[in-house]
């Protein structure tokens, strides 16, 4: 299997080819496919210190709220070290699911790439430092949508 190893080389090469600015231009010029860009830029998004920075690094602009995304999270999390989160999207061609917490030191929690044939569904467990909004971003058919939910954290676990 040529894909047997995680394809780090490709990501590093993309990272080395420039920041979002250049990549954005290349996309606009139609030189590279948008899905290549997300793979390169999201690692930078993990360094984001504000939600705006994280969105920008992910290439997200004013995502619309969507009732087709269901975010399941506890109302009160007694243990911030393990907060179960489920995101389910019935949007046509869901291709990416991203989870963020607006008050965590690292806001971007995880980022999933959903190929065709895989359902727009993910359950994961995340750390939360304090009471905050959990944000689920879903990219479907090239557009980003979001939903968010506040989770009260009684004992932070970051």
């Amino acid at each position: 299997m040529e894909k047997a190893e995680i394809d780090l080389g490709r990501r590093n090469a993309l990272k080395a080819s420039g920041g979002m600015g250049l990549l954005g231009l290349l996309v606009a010029a139609g030189l590279i496919q948008p899905n290549m860009v997300s793979a390169a830029s999201e690692r930078a998004a993990f360094e984001a210190k504000t939600l705006d920075e994280a969105f920008k690094a992910l290439g997200v602009f004013f995502p619309a709220n969507s009732p087709a995304i269901q975010l399941t999270a506890p109302e009160i999390a007694e243990n911030g070290a393990v907060v179960p989160i489920t995101v389910e999207s019935t949007l046509f061609r869901t291709e990416q699911i991203t989870i963020l917490v607006d008050k965590n030191p690292t806001m971007l929690v995880d980022n999933f790439f959903v190929p065709e044939g895989t359902e727009g569904f993910i359950t994961t467990r995340i750390k939360m430092a304090q009471t905050a909004s959990v944000i689920a971003l879903v990219k479907a058919d090239g557009k980003f949508y979001r939903v968010s939910k506040e989770v009260k954290v009684t004992a932070g676990g970051c």
Partner: protein, 103 residues
């Protein structure tokens, strides 16, 4: 040697549900040990899931993913006996790959 990933893949009504428990500390790099020294960040940065060699999910993790990352996802297709594998890579360059048969 990293600990093996626990995987359970079950087929039901043409959809395979995969439950994954990766065994990893997921240190965020901000915690201190008893002597006040920072514990260096040590976490899984990316993973991929394959069904008979075809990628069915790829993901990237930051340090806000809980210790021993747990996932559930579903893909269409699959049959009893098919292979589902999980491969992860951490920020130290360690990698772990495990495989189970769909039941």
């Amino acid at each position: 040697m990293p600990n093996p990933t626990k995987i359970r893949a079950t087929i039901n009504d043409g959809v395979t549900e995969v439950r994954v428990l990766m065994q990893h500390e997921m240190e965020n790099g901000r915690r201190k040990d008893e002597t006040g020294m920072l514990i260096p960040a040590w976490y899984i940065t990316e993973f991929k899931a394959q069904h008979n060699g075809r990628i069915v999910l790829e993901g990237q993790f930051g340090t806000s993913v809980s210790k021993n990352p747990y996932l559930i996802f579903r893909f269409r297709g699959g049959a009893a006996g098919d292979k589902v594998s999980i491969t992860w890579l951490d920020n130290r360059g360690e990698t772990q790959s495990d495989e189970v048969a769909v039941i």
